[in-house]
């Protein structure tokens, strides 16, 4: 009997495989977007503008990392924007009213985030309601709590320096750029997420659960526990990002992060992670996060009228998704 294992690693086919992979396509488009904006507006590359983008990038990027893992497992979380607001609001309320010190307040804030994620995960897995409905309800509950406990007003600024403020929102000069410590958080968490998704058993389980949950369960993968864990991770990352943001601008607003859930999902999907689960990429998410940030920033710089801004953002996201659909189809036929 002949054995028909075709060599798969011929250089030519490897190149074709790379060009056809969603991450690389996203990377190429990102390069085009960056070059395009730089040519149209040299100010796009000015140290001030880049510093500006780098201050915002990690905050949405950190949430996007959690969302990537969750989407790969076939679920998603619409409550991240509200959690982004509630986390720091709780911390500031407790710390400013002198109930507890800032360290304890941070811990309590994160515990609340864990609870939000756990409730999302338990309802989705144990009661079997779709994550769309569960987390949409949770979005309203969490946002409502944030508004109610603050009476709708942003909390007064927190201006006492301390180890936690330094850890979360210190800034430093690197050459001509002014960077925030949040960038280190983003880099470290990216490395961790990439390790989990690509190099650990857990990553294979996450992909398998999103691909065919019953298959994973039949092979002994604890699918529900993995999903609940990912909901918790996503909520905690959203709360952490909210705290970083609140310390950076020295204020916690109950309406912070409105609309972030969709922005984050757009970042993840633009990067090449499948909305239907089973296939995720951390590299793609980084590309998607940088791309959406660059588009938002660049479109203003090239002088698109403020009110027309979202038309362009939406159109560019749509183009990216169409492109991914084509790549998917081609790789399917191959």
């Amino acid at each position: 009997m002949t054995v028909l294992i075709q060599p798969f690693d011929k250089p030519a086919s490897r190149w074709r495989g790379l060009a056809g992979s969603p991450q690389i396509a996203s990377l190429v488009i990102l390069a085009i977007v960056l070059v395009g904006f730089s040519l149209a507006r040299p100010a796009f590359l000015s140290p001030l503008n880049i510093s500006n983008m780098m201050a915002f990038l990690p905050e949405l990027g950190i949430i996007a990392l959690g969302m990537t893992l969750l989407l790969t497992a076939g679920e998603f979380d619409l409550s991240v924007g509200a959690t982004f607001a509630l986390g720091p609001v709780i911390v500031m309320l407790l710390a400013q009213n002198g109930v507890v010190d800032i360290g304890t307040a941070l811990a309590i804030g994160l515990l609340v985030c864990i609870a939000i994620g756990a409730i999302n995960g338990l309802i989705v897995t144990k009661i079997g309601i779709s994550s769309f409905l569960v987390t949409l309800s949770m979005l309203m509950i969490v946002r409502g709590v944030a508004l109610y406990i603050t009476q709708g007003f942003p909390l007064k600024s927190w201006d006492q320096p301390g180890v936690f403020v330094t850890l979360l929102a210190d800034s430093f000069e690197l050459g001509p750029w002014r960077l925030y410590t949040s960038l280190w958080w983003f880099i470290a968490l990216t490395a961790l997420a990439a390790y989990i998704l690509n190099f650990s058993k857990l990553g294979n389980w996450i992909s398998a659960i999103g691909s065919n949950r019953n298959a994973a369960v039949a092979r002994g993968v604890p699918a529900d526990a993995v999903k609940i864990g990912l909901f918790i991770v996503t909520s905690v990352l959203a709360g952490l990002a909210g705290m970083i943001s609140a310390f950076r601008i020295s204020a916690a607003s109950p309406v912070a992060g409105t609309g972030y859930e969709l922005e984050v999902i757009a970042m993840v999907v633009v990067g090449g992670t499948a909305l239907t689960g089973g296939r995720g990429t951390i590299l793609g998410t980084i590309v998607g996060a940088v791309m959406l940030r660059a588009i938002r920033n660049g479109i203003v710089l090239v002088g698109v009228p403020g009110l027309a801004f979202n038309i362009f953002v939406g159109a560019i996201i749509l183009v990216m998704l169409i492109l991914h659909a084509f790549i998917q189809k081609r790789s399917f036929r191959r």
């Binding site: 009997m1 054995v3 028909l4 294992i5 075709q6 798969f8 390790y195 190099f199 650990s200 058993k201 990553g203 294979n204 389980w205 992909s207 398998a208 999103g210 691909s211 065919n212 019953n214 298959a215 994973a216 039949a218 092979r219 002994g220 993968v221 499948a274 089973g278 296939r279 399917f332 191959r334």
Partner: protein, 262 residues
């Protein structure tokens, strides 16, 4: 049942059975799904389980694979009485099931599916041993002559027969005692069915027992050493494939031939 006369024809004729079922009964509420079922499975033999829809074949597979505990009766694995708490315990003890729906993750490569749930890791960071998984999978598909483009191929890019081949190869890799095949060719075309049958027949040489559920009597007669007939949860009888014919088996399935005294 004339059990002593029904030892397998080919190998280990006088070895002790791998799996021995004695008086297995399963009740769901007041309904008896399986009553007084007894069967010995030996290494290196293929036994077919046949019966009409609702005869209890799938229930029996679920009992053996640890999904449902039996209400009554004894299961012995290599002579040791066992009671599986759930399917993962049965799997650890060397019993693998290939389900109709295949249980493969469509968007994962073949080698990741092969090790899903039991991935080997190495180093202090417990990094997935992809090379090891790929090499083991390549060796296995070569031995079993499963024709797939590559062990790195994604499952959804494979044909139905290739997927079934992967599922059976996975079961073969992990099974040390018994493989249960639930309608392995139900969704396949003629050529692919022939390929999967060839694969199943080759499992005899690997010294494990195979229990196959099939609706195709032609297939049952091509593949099996013995045929066990179920009707409405009752064991009608066990026949050596060489000593029976389709008419007798059909009669046993439909009820034209009544069950023999136990």
């Amino acid at each position: 049942m004339a059990e002593p006369a029904l030892k397998p024809a080919n190998t280990q004729a006088d070895s002790s059975p791998v799996l021995s079922l004695r008086g297995i009964q399963k009740n769901f509420g007041g309904v008896t799904a399986i009553e007084n079922f007894s069967l010995d499975l030996h290494a290196g033999e293929i036994v077919a389980l046949v019966g009409d829809n609702g005869a209890g074949k799938s229930t029996l597979v679920k009992i053996i694979s640890g999904v449902h505990p039996p209400s009554e009766g004894v299961m012995e694995l290599s002579g040791e009485a066992v009671r599986f708490a759930d399917a993962s315990v049965a799997r650890e003890r060397g019993i693998e099931v290939v389900y109709q729906d295949l249980a493969l993750a469509d968007q994962q490569p073949v080698y990741m599916n092969m090790f899903l749930g039991r991935e080997p890791v190495r180093g202090p960071l417990r990094v997935l041993d992809r090379r090891g998984m790929i090499e083991a999978t390549e060796k296995l598909v070569r031995e079993l002559d499963v024709r797939i483009p590559s062990v790195r191929a994604t499952i959804r890019n494979l044909s139905g027969g290739q997927r079934q081949g992967v599922a059976i190869a996975r079961a073969t890799h992990w099974a040390t005692k018994l493989i249960l095949l639930d309608e392995p060719t139900a969704a396949l075309g003629v050529a692919e069915t022939a390929k999967v049958e060839e694969l199943v027949a080759s499992l005899r040489a690997r010294n494990i027992a195979v229990l196959i559920i099939s609706h195709s009597l032609d297939q049952v007669f091509r593949l099996s050493d013995r045929i066990c007939v179920l009707r409405r949860g009752r064991q009608i009888g066990v026949r050596r494939t060489n000593d029976t014919d389709k008419n007798e088996i059909i009669g046993m399935i439909t009820g034209l031939i009544e069950s023999e005294p136990a």
